[in-house]
């Protein structure tokens, strides 16, 4: 194996470290790629103590989503949950906050209507159970969980108090002299009663045979009555059978009509079952809202910054178009102090020459396509009028950005034999103002320099509609 140079070893360490870092932050970050999937439902609770963002939402113990946000709404807590797109929640379901284990984390449990313990089997359930499922952004009714630990402890201590009271009064009754005497009386009475019962059973034993004989007689006369009316009974039975057969036929024809309607036969059937009209209206509405929401969603970020490179400085004007959260286009203009160069070679004596280069300030432009995954973004395109590539890493909910850009890969300038690589860290001080700093062109020792800069960045709403009014062919 060839011996690795110092540069190669360091490069390897940096690459392995960066990949490890990316994997760790991606694993821990629970990122959703692209736009957040699924739909949201909200619920109002009196108290959500212990419930945080990213807490799980479960149904029957199976995780079906996460808590996206918890906010205060009229001194109650509104919990916004993001659910998996293919989980449907039946109307009549309720949300409760439950605890996993004794010290475990809190989570939101959605209880379907057929398992709600507070509804009795009959009419109440029928009234609650409307057909269909919850639509996105609706509010689910919330109940206090019966298995709340605090409540359980409260109930238990209440029960213990009751028991104590009962035993206390029992002690009062039995513990005193009078209590003991009355207990004695009760036992006495009980003994007398038992004796009476015994006497009664003995009497029954003696006169029992007579009772049985009377019963036998009654059964015999009943038999005779039935025998006399046998024919009448038969006719009535037949009538009943006929009636039920007719009812059956009527039901069958009703069913066949209903089935036809269901299948969409006949005018009524078409109206009821054919959903093509509904779908066409729906898709048209969707198409319109798709276009408007695309413009609505699009962000246009305007930026301006100046970077001081001791003693030179570079100014940038940039425009970012973000049609969706994770994809954007960057257009940037900058002045480059080393923009245009001119090489003059003076031959001093035959065979030897002196080459000098002069530079002129010049405008250059960048045009990049950027794609973002979680906290990392990759940019490709033109950087300062040559092909380039760049990467960004966002920290502290996008307040800070660390970027590396590389361009000008085949430069012919004497001082600039390697690619121009620039590392920048920038930090937003407020909503618009930011500062940055870094190392410019550090692969070319004669040109490398640190820089600090300051700039503005803001979301321009009007620009967006200006661009939006230009028809975009789909």
């Amino acid at each position: 194996m060839a011996k690795l140079s110092a540069e190669a070893k360091v490069g390897l360490l940096v690459i392995v470290g960066s990949i490890t870092l990316l994997i760790m932050t991606f694993m821990v970050g629970k990122y959703e790629f692209g736009e957040a999937k699924g739909y949201t439902l909200s619920a109002l609770f009196d108290s959500v103590a212990g419930l945080d963002e990213k807490s799980s939402v479960r149904m029957a113990g199976v995780k079906i989503g996460v808590v996206e946000r918890v906010e205060l709404s009229d001194s109650r807590a509104r919990v916004i949950m993001r659910l998996d797109p293919d989980t449907k929640i039946k109307r009549g379901s309720e949300a409760t906050i439950k605890t996993m284990g004794l010290l475990g984390e809190k989570f939101v449990e959605l209880v379907p209507p057929d398992r709600r313990s507070d509804l009795s089997e009959g009419s109440a359930l029928g009234a609650v159970e409307k057909s269909g499922y919850f639509q996105p952004d609706e509010t689910i009714p919330a109940t206090v969980s019966p298995s709340d630990i605090d409540k359980l402890v409260n109930q238990l201590s209440g029960i213990a108090g009751d028991i104590k009271q009962v035993t206390g009064s029992l002690r009062q009754v039995l513990g005193t002299e009078a209590g003991a005497r009355s207990m004695d009386d009760i036992l006495h009475d009980l003994r007398d009663t038992m004796a009476n019962i015994k006497e009664f059973s003995i009497t029954l034993q003696g006169d029992g045979s007579e009772l049985v004989m009377r019963l036998n007689e009654l059964a015999g006369s009943l038999n005779a009555v039935v025998g006399e009316n046998r024919d009448n009974l038969k006719v009535s039975m037949e009538n009943i059978r006929e009636a039920s057969r007719n009812a059956e036929l009527a039901l069958a024809s009703i069913e066949s009509v209903a089935r036809k309607v269901d299948r969409g036969e006949g005018t009524l059937g078409k109206l009821v079952s054919d959903d093509s009209m509904y779908t066409s209206i729906d898709s048209a509405a969707k198409g319109i809202s798709d276009y408007t929401s695309r413009i609505e969603r699009m962000q246009t970020v305007v930026g301006f910054r100046t970077e001081y490179m001791f003693p030179k400085s570079k100014s940038y004007f940039s425009l970012e178009l973000k049609p969706v959260k994770d994809k954007y286009y960057i257009f940037e203009m900058t002045n480059d102090p080393y923009g245009k160069y001119q090489r003059t070679t003076i031959t001093t004596t035959p065979g030897s020459s002196v080459t000098t280069e002069t530079y002129e300030d010049r405008f250059k432009f960048s045009l990049m396509f950027a794609k973002r995954w979680g906290d990392a973004a990759l940019r490709v395109g033109l950087i300062e009028s040559t092909g380039g590539i760049g990467g960004d890493y966002f920290l502290f909910s996008d307040k800070m950005k660390v970027s590396v850009d590389a361009w000008n890969f085949n430069s012919r300038e004497l001082d600039n034999t390697n690619a121009h690589v620039k590392a920048t860290a920038s930090y937003m001080l407020g909503n618009t103002l930011f500062v940055n700093g870094g190392m410019d062109n550090f692969l070319n020792s004669k040109r490398s320099a640190g820089f600090v800069g300051i700039g503005l960045r803001f979301n321009d709403e009007d620009l967006k509609y200006l661009i939006g009014s230009v028809p975009i062919p789909k």
Partner: protein, 256 residues
């Protein structure tokens, strides 16, 4: 009595002067860092010295720490049936605290010492003065590459240390002690935030800067031959380790 006061006063003044000198040295270093020329080859050489060659030491320390952490927290948590929290303890302490601090201490011991010894020897043999007469700034040629290299390399070494420490904890927790692997991983991931990792790495950057700065400072201020070099080396290790531990508290409080 007055002698005692004098001694106390002199010691205090010494400490304050030393702090001032270190801060001035930091200022000079930063100024030299942002203005060219930049010695790229030297930087890479130092990165190899400080970073690549420290990998075995750092990884061994991180691995054993992660394993011990899992083992110790197991005995504690088992008493109240919370074994599932081992993963959380290991990953949180590796990312927030032990990853950067242990890496910092190991690099201070390994690279900080060698920095001070190397520069100290150059100082007592007057190589640094010679460099100055050749119109090469020793700050830019010697200090800046070491300072920058130790800052950047500490970052990447800490990333690897975190990963290896957490893996060691997983190995002990799951394979040796037999806790549920899925619970272990879920608990680790659910309770660790991206910000925990970044707070640890900000610490690592600061510790890297401390090791590079103190190593170079002690080397540059070496006096008195071979004995002085020895003293400078010891001083560099002791001071940078203490600074790492002290700054660790303040950074933890600040970044909470």
């Amino acid at each position: 009595m007055t002698r005692l006061l004098e001694i106390l006063g002199r010691k205090t003044l010494d400490v304050v002067t030393e702090i001032g000198r270190v801060l001035m040295f930091l200022g000079q270093t930063l100024r030299a860092t942002i203005s060219g020329p930049f010695y790229v080859r030297n930087l890479f050489k130092q990165m190899e010295q400080i970073g690549v060659n420290s990998i075995p030491v750092v990884l061994t320390t991180a691995l054993s720490t992660g394993m011990v952490l899992a083992l110790q927290s197991y005995t504690g948590f088992k008493r109240f049936g919370a074994e599932s929290l081992i993963g959380t303890v290991v990953s949180l302490s590796m990312t927030r605290e032990l990853g950067p601090v242990l890496t910092g201490l190991m690099v201070a011991g390994r690279a900080g010492a060698s920095m001070a010894a190397e520069l100290g020897t150059m100082k007592v043999t007057e190589q640094i003065d010679a460099m100055e007469t050749l119109a090469t700034s020793p700050m830019k040629y010697l200090v800046v590459p070491r300072f920058v290299a130790s800052t950047i390399m500490m970052f990447f070494l800490t990333v690897l240390g975190m990963l290896i420490g957490i893996s060691g904890g997983y190995f002990v927790g799951v394979k040796v002690l037999g806790t549920n692997p899925v619970t272990y991983v879920n608990q680790s991931i659910d309770n660790t935030e991206v910000s925990d990792i970044w707070y640890g790495l900000i610490k690592a950057l600061v510790f890297g800067a401390v090791v590079g700065l103190i190593g170079c400072y002690k080397g540059f201020n070496t006096e008195g031959g071979a004995e002085g070099v020895g003293k400078a080396t010891t001083g560099a290790v002791v001071v940078s380790c203490m600074l790492i531990l002290i700054l660790d508290y303040f950074l933890s409080a600040l970044l909470w």
